[in-house]
């Protein structure tokens, strides 16, 4: 299928907009099993750098990105239905991400971990679908499915002090003088430790912000070649005040208040000029 066609052209090289190219993309195994969507990304501050360290699939990643009460309900329902008393979100480390194209391909171990974490699928498989005559294809797995609890795998737990990409998206951006410049719309990152087999962790290099979020995920902000002309012209006008600024020009991040303050020397430019 198509995913193979993209491995040569994936996000290995230049900085890549995470919202456009990674977030909400399909996660697949090497055998093209569909394992979920990239519902959120884990960020961690390491030695002054902001790194993308892992991806989240399922309600703990997707819930916080829904507005207000809807988001809280999704998380509450997930916690209530979860067999663990204090359920933990599973974060798949970026070391298990092999390639990013039209889908995100993960390692076999990563696929097994994600599969083990699909509780609704396993519950429906065991209690509903397997009861219907003619259900095929899962007998081997129904007995002794390795449902590893996340707490037994320290590498799959959320890092203490870690953040979610959804905490950063929508955060207010202020100039050094305190002037409000808009909200964070996209974050660009590049691989820092690619070995050839795996993509590994990504380092955040810049953020794109602007006063209007309308259509921010469509790709018109970051890709000047994106057509068709009529739509591109409309979005170029709507998004003319969008700016990109290097991450090293972000002087301070207040994660609790969700505010980014730019340094006095920051030189924001329109995303298309870079």
């Amino acid at each position: 299928m198509g995913t193979d066609a993209f491995t040569h052209d994936d996000i290995g090289g230049s900085p890549t907009p995470l919202v456009l190219r990674l977030l909400d993309h399909q996660v697949v195994s090497a055998e093209e099993e569909l394992l979920g969507n990239v519902d959120n990304l884990e960020l961690r501050e390491v030695d002054g750098d902001l790194l993308v360290t892992g991806l989240l699939c399922g309600p703990p990643g997707w819930g916080p990105r829904q507005p207000g009460n809807l988001g809280r309900w999704i998380l509450a329902i997930w916690r209530r239905l979860h067999p663990d008393e204090h359920p933990e979100a599973m974060v798949l480390p970026m070391a298990h991400v092999m390639a990013v194209g039209s889908a995100v391909t993960v390692s076999d171990w990563g696929a097994a971990a994600l599969d083990g974490n699909m509780r609704l699928e396993h519950w429906l498989r065991a209690h509903v679908i397997s009861r219907i005559p003619g259900a095929t294809g899962g007998e081997d797995r129904l007995a002794g499915e390795p449902l590893r609890p996340v707490r037994d795998h320290p590498e799959l737990r959320r890092a203490p002090g870690g953040h979610l990409l959804s905490d950063l998206l929508g955060a207010r951006v202020r100039s050094a003088a305190g002037e409000d410049l808009g909200t964070v719309l996209d974050v660009d990152a590049e691989p820092t430790e690619r070995t050839g087999l795996e993509l590994g962790r990504l380092r955040v290099v810049s953020v794109t912000y602007g006063p209007r979020a309308l259509g921010a995920e469509l790709g018109y902000t970051t890709d000047p070649r994106q057509g068709p002309l009529l739509v591109a012209a409309v979005f170029r006008r709507v998004q003319r005040h969008h700016r990109r600024v290097l991450w090293r020009d972000v002087a301070a991040v207040d994660w609790a208040e969700r505010v980014l303050t730019l340094s006095a020397t920051a030189r924001p430019v329109h995303p298309h000029t870079a």
Partner: protein
């Protein structure tokens, strides 16, 4: 030879698969009230579905991603959720209407009350979705749906005044007995019937299920550009048949029996058999497509394993959604809601929900990172942008027109 056969089969199933309960009812109704003065909308709608299906088929073949997958990706989780709820509601209404249509066709054939047929049909549709292979499903019902060609034969046999029909169609005017808002309301309904979102969900997901690649593009385009327009000709033939029989007598079509009556009057028993076979195949096939499409859209939004190319236990969530929607579709019909009315509403709401699915596909078909050299060309973009405007206008106009005309009365 096998390649020619495959292309011919694809075209034939596209023709038969194009017509569903929405096209049958809306075209027949419009023919009986407006003659062929709205035939231009069918032409606009058919070109639109060709543009939309070609783009989403191309994206599916090149990127391996089906339509709703991309909608979530480009609209984000919030707007994507709104698009999911809207398209699922419309597809579910259509699904229910198709099951009702099968029950009505069986009633015509057996005189057994449709409410006895509805649970049977619902179970049969689900059984087909559960057990029957994708290709068998697509080909069997698509080919049997070709029986609807009897409408064209019947029109031919009636020996109509072709010049008068042509002038009705080519110089459209609002008939004296109807108001302009009603005319426009049915224009939107016909457009929605031709461009139902589920057709594209089904088409692109089918492409992924059948593992299309860039090499499949030629076959895909032949199916779309030959099959759908011929399906549109079938739609116009239905409208022409009811125009000739009902319009002069001032009778409005509002049952499935009336839709088939012109054929029976003209061709007798053999016409009756073929028209019933056509009704059954078209509605049953579309019931399967819409049922699957409900599952496709939910599963693709969440990234779940979906489809009939994996064994059912590997896609337990997908099959649960399909099962639940079959049960809910039957339950909706058993409230004694009129399936014909359900159909009329479903085509209008199709037009309302269309931009939410059309727009992201237009954007992705322009994404060079995904599409490489298969990115939209000048023609695809000119038509694509033009239809973006058409789709938006139809969507915005649909509900006000529905209110003003009290749903076309």
């Amino acid at each position: 030879v096998s390649k020619v056969f495959a292309i011919a089969l694809g075209v034939l199933t596209a023709i038969g698969g194009f017509v569903d309960i929405g096209d049958l009812v809306t075209n027949a109704l419009v023919g009986s009230r407006f003659g062929l003065s709205l035939a231009w909308v069918v032409v606009v709608g058919v070109i639109g579905i060709c543009v939309f299906a070609e783009m989403s088929g191309r994206v599916a073949a090149v990127s391996g991603r089906a339509t709703f997958d991309l909608i979530r990706e480009r609209l984000g989780p919030r707007v994507g959720l709104a698009a999911l709820v809207a398209s699922m509601a419309v597809t579910f209404l259509t699904f229910s209407a198709e099951i009702g249509g099968v029950a009505l066709a069986l009633e015509l054939a057996s005189s057994v009350n449709p409410f006895l047929w509805i649970p049977v049909v619902g179970a049969a549709v689900w059984l087909v979705l559960w057990r029957v292979k994708f290709a068998v499903l697509e080909n069997a019902f698509g080919l049997a749906g070709l029986a609807l060609i009897v409408f064209a034969v019947a029109v031919w046999q009636m020996g109509p005044d072709w010049a008068a029909l042509w002038s009705q169609a080519s110089a459209p005017a609002v008939p004296g007995s109807e108001s302009l808002p009603t005319y426009l309301y049915y224009a939107v309904a016909l457009f929605g019937a031709a461009m139902t979102p589920y057709e594209v969900f089904f088409f692109s997901s089918g492409g992924v299920e059948e593992r299309w690649t860039a090499d499949s593009l030629k076959v895909m385009r032949t199916n779309v550009f030959v099959g759908f327009p011929l399906g549109g000709v079938l739609s116009i033939a239905i409208a022409a048949a009811t125009t000739l029989v009902f319009l002069p007598r001032g009778i409005q079509v509002d049952t499935l029996g009336q839709v088939g009556l012109p054929v029976v009057m003209e061709l007798g028993k053999i016409g009756l058999v073929l028209v019933l076979l056509g009704f059954f195949a078209a509605t049953f096939g579309a019931a399967c497509e819409t049922g699957l499409s409900v599952g496709y859209s939910v599963a693709q939004y969440f990234g779940w394993q979906w489809g009939k190319y994996v064994p059912p236990l590997r896609a337990a969530r997908f099959h649960t959604v399909v099962l639940l929607s079959a049960i809910a579709g039957v339950a909706l019909l058993l409230t004694t809601v009129d399936p014909i009315m359900l159909t009329e509403y479903s085509v209008v709401f199709s037009a309302v929900a269309l931009p939410l699915t059309y727009f992201p596909i237009l954007v992705v078909a322009n994404d060079r990172t995904y599409m490489g050299r298969h990115v939209n060309g000048r023609l695809a973009n000119t038509l694509g942008s033009l239809y973006l405007v058409v789709v938006l206008v139809a969507s915005l106009a649909a509900l006000p027109l529905m209110v003003v005309t009290r749903a076309g009365q």
